[in-house]
Structure formats: C-alpha cells, structure tokens
C-alpha cells in the first residue's frame, strides 16, 4: 500500500444520490493483485475522472465497475442494490477502440435498440435522433467499419447513448483521435451530462479531465492513491504518485527517488 494513499471517503460529492459504489474491490490474475481494495462512490449527475499511469488498472477498474469482469473480492452496488443484469442495462460503455458491428451505421444503432427491446416507430425515432446527435445522418447507410476513427468513435458514443443510460463508462474515448474528433466526442459527453447521464471517464489527458470532470480518482498500482475535486488534485496533488505523474516523472514505489523524464 502506498503511504500516500488517501481514503476516497475523504471526498464525497455531497447531497447527491450515490449511483454506483464499490467496497473493498480486488481483482487478481496470475497470482498478481491488479486492483487492490478499491472503495469508491459515483454520485448521480457527476463526471468522475479516473487517471493514472499506464498499467495502473484504470481500464480494468472500469470493466469491474461495469460488470464485464467478476471481482476477486469486494462488492459493487447499484443504487444501493446489487449490480445485476437489470442494473447493467442502465449502464453503457464506450471502449478506447470502438467495436463496430459488420453492418451499416444505422444498423449498429438499431442493434443497440433491439437488444433493449425498443421496436417500431420508437426505434426509428431514436435512431434518427442518435444519428443527428452524432452528426452521422449522411453516413447512415455506410458500412460502419469503413468510417474514420473519429466517426467510428462518434458512432460508438451514439450507440451507447441511444439507450439513455443512467451511467456511461468511457475508456479513453479520445485516445489516438485528432483534436477536431476529440472535440466532437467531448461535446457528446457534455450533451449526455446535460441529459442527466452520469459519467465515469478514464483519460490520460489532464486538460480533458479539467474540461469535463468534477471528481478525480488517481490510481496507482491498482489502488486509489488520491481522490478529490479535479481542479484540486491537478493543481495541488497530495499523493506521491499523483505528484510524480503530473510532474512528468516516473514513479516506482520500490525506488522512492523516482526519475525525472
């Protein structure tokens, strides 16, 4: 355990319902503890940003919280109850590399609606809304896999938002996108928030965290090294791991004299 570990309970976005919470969350693989005793709360309507160095467990934590992976220990609660299939249907996730079905743009959106049991006129209406939201109307009949990276990620966002999730997980959605595409994705995230969707965002981009985030969890070696308001952590990090990372230094716990890049 890092000495700089700060209990997440020190930072509670007050006066809001807790949508998702995790207690003592652990995940082991091949004899290694990759997520270690994580406690967190995600409040309704907030944008919680998860940051940390490569390999710190950000994407893994996101998958655990979304129920894609079963934790080795600990519990995840959804609106105070368990995270079951019904709860999962109120969540959505956009991956760093968008997974496009081998169908048209519109058929990708229709599929998401179909599996949620949306049919007929409502399906058509929501499909049209999603296409407009992602500015993909002109590409609706094109095979999704021939779109550019930015267009594919917009489609992935639209497909995630089409089911109006209460909580949207975003795993580095703008990684490897050009600035214009990143801006389009950020606008979609803002629109989702305006529509009441809670966001949990993994990013490497401190500027993006500042623009979009309310709360920040800084992960190091599978543990939450620091948690608090985004601006406070980015401006005055208290944990050694966050200080090193934000200062551009490689932080290795076994070697307290971390090197400057």
């Amino acid at each position: 355990m890092s000495e700089a570990l700060i209990d997440i309970t020190n930072h509670k976005p007050a006066a809001r319902e807790t949508l998702l919470s995790a207690q003592g969350l652990c995940f082991d693989a091949r004899g290694q503890r990759l997520i270690d005793s994580v406690n967190l709360e995600v409040a309704t309507g907030r944008c919680t940003v998860i940051m940390g160095a490569n390999g710190s467990g950000k994407s893994l934590l996101l998958r655990l919280l979304h129920g894609l992976i079963t934790p080795s220990a600990g519990t995840i609660n959804w609106r105070g109850g368990s995270l079951d299939h019904v709860a999962r249907l109120q969540q959505a996730m956009v991956f760093q590399r968008p997974v496009m079905l081998r169908r048209s743009v519109a058929a990708n959106l229709r599929f998401a609606l179909k599996v949620r049991g949306v049919h007929g006129a409502e399906r058509k209406t929501r499909e049209a809304e999603a296409l407009a939201l992602a500015k993909l109307e002109n590409l609706k009949d094109k095979p999704a896999r021939v779109l550019s990276g930015g267009e594919q990620q917009r489609l992935a966002m639209a497909r995630a938002l089409i089911s109006t999730p209460a909580l949207l997980f975003l795993d580095e959605p703008t990684a490897s996108l050009d600035p214009a595409s990143s801006l389009a994705i950020e606008r979609l995230i803002e629109t989702a928030r305006e529509n009441g969707t809670t966001i949990v965002l993994v990013t490497h981009d401190a500027g993006q965290a500042r623009r979009l985030g309310d709360d920040l969890l800084f992960l190091h070696n599978g543990q939450i090294a620091e948690a608090g308001p985004v601006t406070r952590i980015l401006e005055a990090p208290q944990s050694e791991a966050a200080q090193a990372w934000l200062g551009g230094r490689i932080f290795v716990p076994d070697n307290p004299k971390s090197e400057t890049i």
């Binding site: 998958r63 979304h66 129920g67 894609l68 299939h85 999962r88 249907l89 969540q91 959505a92 996730m93 991956f95 997974v99 079905l101 081998r102 169908r103 599929f111 998401a112 179909k114 599996v115 949620r116 095979p143 896999r145 021939v146």
Partner: protein, 235 residues
C-alpha cells in the same frame, strides 16, 4: 494425343448438344448436393456458432471431435448409411436405400462437420472481438448467436461453398448408398467412374469438364464474396 483430342472434341460436342441424359445427371447431382449443403448449414451453422461463442464443460473435446469429423472417409460414411438404411437396418423400413434421399443423407453427414468446424472457427474469432461490446449492451445468448451468424455472413458463405465443393465432387459414399442406378441415382461423379470403367470416355470427360466448370464458378463466387466483404471491411 490424337485419340485424346478426339475424345475431348466429342466430349465438348456432347456438352453443347444438351444431351438429355447428361442434363438429367447434372440436375440430379446439383439437387442432391444443394439439398445436402442446405441441411448441413441448417445443422452445422448453429452448432458451430454455439461451440464458437460459448464456454462449457468438455468444449475442447467437442472441438476436437468436430475437427476430426471433417476428415471422415466417404466410403465409411457410405457404409454406415448403407447399414442404417438396408432392409435389415434400423431405418430399413423407410425404403430409402438406392434413392436420392439416401445420397442426400450420406452427403449431409459428410458436409455437416465441415460446415460446423469452419463455422466454429469463424464465430470464435468474431466473438473474441465482440464479446465485451455484447456484454456491455446486455445482449442475450440467443441474440448473440444470431448477431454473430449475421455479422459473419460473408465468411459463412465461403464455408457453405467449401461444403458444396466437397459434396459435389464426392463419389465414395453416394455410389454405396445410391447404387448408381440409371435415371434414378446416377450423378456426375458416379457416372464418370462407371463410364471410365466401360471405356465410354467421351461421356466421362464431358461430365468431368462440367465438374471443373462448377469448381471454377464456385471459386469465382468465392472471390466475388471476398471482394464485396473486403470493400465493406466486413472481413
């Protein structure tokens, strides 16, 4: 060489004359093969998709069996179907031996493992790509199977054509259960075998050329499908 040229010319003339016997043999061949491939797809596609998409106990054993059955010797299949359908066999009462139905059964048994095993591989690869997205969307198992089969449609068409290629060229099983009866169960491959042994090389070569032509058409179709799929980035 002159003899070969002469036989070749006569074979081509036979094809161009639209000889009714030749047409009958070709049509029966296509009917038996297409029925067998259709049945093999009805059984093999969902079976391969289920094995490819889900994890269950003994799955590795099932995959090994499926892959092994791809190499089923046709004469062994012919013999087993013969024993099943012969008068003293468990299905003898149906009176199917030496009928096109018996040939369809034998070919279906030969082609189904090919369709199932190749489908399993295609679906497994696609499922690997889709599994997290499907889990995130809350896709139910039955929806997963249908979605994977649909999204792999181009690859699965090539699987079906591979099955067609195997069935249309097959001779060992159909000659045992069909009996090569003129105007009843005589197909291209069995006719080629019979007419060659009789020394009627013109008809044998004519049917051989048509089989080659079918193989060329199948390959052109395969290339067209692959091209279409590649343009849409579906492969």
């Amino acid at each position: 060489m002159d003899s070969f040229s002469g036989i070749l010319m006569e074979a081509i003339e036979l094809i161009l004359s639209w000889d009714s016997d030749v047409i009958e043999i070709i049509m029966l061949s296509l009917r038996v093969t297409l029925c067998a491939v259709l049945l093999a797809c009805v059984i093999g596609l969902p079976l391969g998709a289920i094995v490819g998409a889900f994890r269950f106990p003994m799955r590795t054993g099932v995959v090994v069996v499926m892959n092994t059955l791809m190499g089923l010797p046709p004469v062994v299949v012919g013999l087993l179907v013969y024993l099943m359908l012969s008068a003293s066999g468990p299905m003898g009462v149906l009176g199917l031996l030496y009928t096109p139905t018996a040939m369809i059964i034998a070919q279906t048994i030969l082609v189904t493992p090919i369709v199932a095993a190749l489908t399993r591989q295609v679906i497994e690869d696609l499922n690997l790509e889709y599994s997290e997205q499907f889990a995130s969307l809350g896709v139910r198992p039955i929806e997963r199977i249908f979605a994977l089969l649909w999204d792999a449609r181009y690859s699965l068409l090539t699987v079906a054509l591979a099955g067609f290629g195997r069935a249309v060229a097959e001779v060992g099983a159909v000659i045992i259960v069909g009996g090569n009866i003129n105007h009843v169960t005589r197909v291209m491959t069995t006719t080629i075998a019979l007419e060659t042994s009789k020394g009627n090389l013109q008809l044998a070569l004519a049917l051989g050329l048509i089989l080659l032509l079918i193989a060329v058409v199948v390959n052109i179709l395969l290339m067209a499908i692959r091209g279409t799929a590649a343009r849409a980035a579906y492969v």
